[in-house]
Each structure stands twice: as C-alpha cells, then as structure tokens.
C-alpha cells in the first residue's frame, strides 16, 4: 500500500523538486546579473543596441497583435453584450481588457517568442563555441557584457512597447466599432476615456516591466547554460521560449490577483 503510494507519487515529487531547483538556479542567476548591472564597468553602447533589437524591431509585431486583438475583442463584446442589451459596454470593456490584460500579456508573449529565443540562441552559440570562456580570459565578465545589457534593456523597453500596444489595441476596437458596428466615434472615445483609470495603466506598465525581466532572464539563463553543440543550442532556444511563456502567464496571474483581487 505504502509502496504503490510511493511509486505513484515519487516521480511527481522528484519533478517538483527539480522544478524548484531550477527556479532557485534561475534566481541565483538573476541575482548575479542584477549585481553585475549595478557594478562598473558599464556598457551603454550594448544597452542601446539591445533597446533597438528588443524594442524597436518588435514594434511591428506587437502593434499588429494589438490591432487585431482589439478589433476581435470589440466584435465579441458586441455580440456577447447584445444578448443582455448591453452592446454599449463595448468601449469600456475593450479598453479595460486591452490595458489590464491583453496588451501586456500578448505583447510580452510575442516579444518572448522573438527575443528569448534569439538571446538563448546567441548566448548558447557563444557558449558552445567557447566565446564566453574567451570573454573570461580577456577579463570581461559575461554577466556585465552579455546578460546585464539584455536584462536592463528588456525591463525598460517592454513598458514602452506596451504603451504603444495599449493605444493601438484601443484603436483596433474603435475602428471596428465605428466602421463596422456603427458606434458614434466621439462618444466611443469619451466612454473609453471615462472608464480608463490610472491604476489600469500603472498595472499594465508594471506587468510589462516584469515580463521584460522574465523573458530576458529566460533567454540569457538558458543560453548561458547551454551544452552539447548545435543540438544543445536548439534545446536551449526551445526551453527559453516555453519557460518564458509559462512564467509570463504565471506572473500575470499573480500581479492581477494582487492588484485587482
């Protein structure tokens, strides 16, 4: 009885233990990276370069995601609300859903898909080709040179991307509501403004900063710890994206419950 019980649950326990061990290793990695970020030497040029590659080049993807999602959302709220004679809630519900949840979360996921994978692949390749070892022998701390600029840039740039996504997402809902569902343009915008609160925007930006941290951390962590040649780089890339996705969704849940619960 005890025996079969053990046999059933031991693997689950082992998996849980290794999960928490992995979280612990990632946390230590994050601590080292943040410490490296505040200690000189600094690499401002590399920081700016990361701002561009994470932020600027993600704009099209994040913008389109917000546009399509905002429009689809408005359509669904309209159809759903009509059944309760509440179709007029479209602007209010759209703006709240976009700003509080969809823009930061979908934006974070899209950027994670683009950026965590690229970071893991680049650092992973540097690891397996001994470029990271070479950095150390040339007296350069890989955490300062590689990890810190990526982490800081992602933390700074995700909130900016999310602001843009908020605006475009609301605009997507507006365009669909006005041009397809026949809403009055001026009153749509007025309702939007009335229902949008400062807390919504602040929580949106805080979420974005956290997601930026998470997605850069996962990219760098998995890249830095790559082993096993080209196949290892492939594994690191997959693991970076999957773990970034899961952690972003988990962090979103936690922040939502804390702020709005």
């Amino acid at each position: 009885m005890t025996d079969s019980f053990t046999r059933l649950f031991a693997p689950i326990g082992a998996a849980a233990l290794s999960f928490f061990a992995a979280i612990g290793r990632a946390a230590i990695f994050a601590g080292r990276a943040l410490l490296a970020a505040v200690r000189p030497p600094y690499y401002p040029a590399r920081f700016v370069q990361q701002l561009l590659s994470i932020g600027y080049f993600s704009l099209p993807v994040v913008g389109l995601t917000a546009l399509f999602t905002g429009a689809a959302l408005a359509q669904q709220i309209y159809v759903g609300g009509e059944r309760f004679n509440a179709a007029s809630t479209v602007p209010a519900v759209t703006v709240i859903a976009i700003v509080r949840e969809l823009a930061p979360v979908l934006g974070g996921l899209m950027v994670a898909g683009r950026v965590s994978s690229a970071m893991a692949a680049e650092l992973g390749t540097m690891r397996v080709t001994e470029q990271i070892d070479a950095l150390v022998t040339l007296r350069t701390d890989p955490f300062q040179f590689l990890v810190a600029p990526r982490l800081l840039a992602a933390i700074v740039v995700l909130p900016i991307l999310t602001l843009v996504a908020n605006a475009i997402g609301v605009m997507g809902g507006y365009l669909l509501a006005v041009y397809r569902l026949g809403f009055n343009a001026a009153s749509y915008l007025e309702t939007t403004r009335d229902y949008l609160e400062v807390t919504d925007i602040v929580s949106s930006l805080v979420k974005a900063a956290v997601f930026g941290f998470v997605l850069a951390l996962m990219g760098c962590y998995h890249g830095y710890h790559t082993s096993g040649g080209a196949a290892g780089v492939g594994r690191a890339t997959t693991n970076a994206v999957v773990s970034a996705f899961l952690l972003i969704l988990l962090a979103n849940l936690v922040i939502t419950v804390l702020v709005f619960g």
């Binding site: 590399r46 001994e130 470029q131 070892d133 070479a134 150390v136 022998t137 040339l138 007296r139 350069t140």
Partner: protein, 260 residues
C-alpha cells in the same frame, strides 16, 4: 620570417611565470578525464603537451585558466593557487595571461580588429584609431595583412580565424601564454610563421608558454620541454632533445604516427 625582436620589447623582458600542477583530477559524470596530473613549467620555459585526441589536453588548459573547476588537486601560478584563490588574485593572474582556444573562439559579433584588441578595450569603442592600428601591427605578426582587419570572423577562413585569435591572445603582452593547437588547419609555411612567433615570445620576450599540438614539427620548434598526456596522466616528460630517445613506447608510437 622570424619576428624581429623589437628593442623596446627586449628592454621590458618579462620575468615569466611559474606553474606547478599537482594531483589534478577532473571527471565529467562517470567519465574520468584527468586522473592525477603532475606538471611544472619554469619561468620563461616553453612546454608542449602532446597526446591523442580526447585525452583531456584542452580540459587541462581550462582547469589551469580557472574556466573549469577541477575535482581535486592544486594549480599554483607564481605561488597563487588558482583553484581556491580569491577572485581578485585570479584576475591579477588573468591580466598576465593570454589564451588561444582550439576553435579560435572569436566574437562573431565584432570585426577582426575589435577582436584583436579586446583584451585592451574590453569590448568598448574607445581609442578607435590607435586600437585599429595596433590590431594591424598584431595581425602582421601572425602573417595577416590589413585587408582582413575590417572583416567579420565569419568572412575569413578557419586558418585565418586561428591566426586572428592568436593575435588577440598576445595583444595585452601577457607573460604567460596558452595555445591550444595553434597550427592545426594551417599550411606548413603559415604554420612556421606561427611556430617562430611562439618561439619568439619565449626566447625574446621571456614568456612562459604551454602549447598543445599534434603537429610534431611544430612541437620540435616550439618546445623546451615536452610532456605526453595519456589516460588522464602525464606518462612522460623531458627536454625536447630527448623526444626521440624517450624510452617510452607510447611516445615513440605517437611521434612516429604508428598505428600498431
């Protein structure tokens, strides 16, 4: 085409560094790679390590450099134990150290001249013009001309990458140098340029050097002493003049390339 010993450098001849390795062990999981290595290098001496592929020669160098943590044993560099010295002391040793990796390990996001001067700039874009001309000087020492300076590592051949990496390793004028297969992939003429360069670092500048090679021609030109690594241990070491009379069957087999 031996590198002309330039007088300025002669004056500031290095004292060289002493390395003393004792009882070094390193395993990866079940696989024992180094199984009690004892080895010494005197200041200003050139040691060549030979041994079959996969015997742990590169692992040995990485342990000395502190890139891999050995399971046990000590590695003393000028009296500092690299396996347990505080980070600051190890950084002081690194400041005097140059390393050529087996695969070159050039930074593919930087062009050739920024790679070569990395030990001086730490990757920052300062003193661009003087750094570039320094890089061109160093490239000339490894037999490369200025035209490669602005290319990316991916745009040059493997043999050229190796020589760029060698130029990068010696850019900060280290007095302790490690070369992992410096002539692999080079034609005999270019290989000789590199052999002469390494010999010059030792003879003219007083560096201590550890070089790994499979190339016996190169070993004979570079070495003061030769050591052979086999099954995790140094099975023979002696002056390079003794290489042909080592009295060790494995060494004979290795240097004559016999397969029996």
């Amino acid at each position: 085409m031996s590198p002309a010993p330039d007088p300025a450098a002669m004056e500031e001849r290095n004292p060289g560094a002493a390395i003393e390795i004792a009882g070094l062990r390193k395993s990866f999981g079940e696989k024992i790679v180094l199984n009690g290595v004892n080895l010494g290098v005197r200041p200003g001496e050139s040691l060549v390590i030979i041994g079959g592929s996969g015997t742990g020669k590169s692992v040995l160098l990485k342990c000395i450099l502190g890139l891999l943590q050995p399971d046990s044993g000590t590695i003393m560099i000028d009296g500092i134990d690299m396996t347990e010295a505080p980070g600051g002391d190890r950084a002081d040793v690194r400041r005097r150290t140059g390393m050529l990796f087996q695969g070159g390990a050039l930074f593919d996001s930087l062009n050739v001249w920024r790679n070569v001067t990395f030990a001086l700039t730490q990757g920052r874009a300062r003193k661009g013009r003087s750094m570039r001309s320094l890089a061109v000087e160093l490239l000339a020492k490894v037999g490369l001309d200025e035209s490669v300076a602005d290319l990316r590592p991916a745009e040059i051949s493997g043999g050229m990458q190796k020589r760029v990496a060698l130029a990068r390793a010696i850019a900060s004028r280290p007095d302790l140098v490690f070369f992992d297969e410096p002539t692999t992939g080079l034609d005999p003429i270019r290989a000789n340029t590199i052999n002469d360069l390494i010999r010059g670092l030792v003879t003219d500048l007083g560096c201590s050097a550890i070089t790994i090679t499979h190339d016996m021609e190169s070993a004979r030109r570079i070495a003061d002493r030769v050591a052979m690594l086999h099954e995790g241990r140094i099975i023979w070491q002696g002056p390079v003049e003794m290489l042909d009379d080592s009295g060790n069957a494995r060494v004979d087999k290795f240097i004559n390339g016999r397969t029996d």
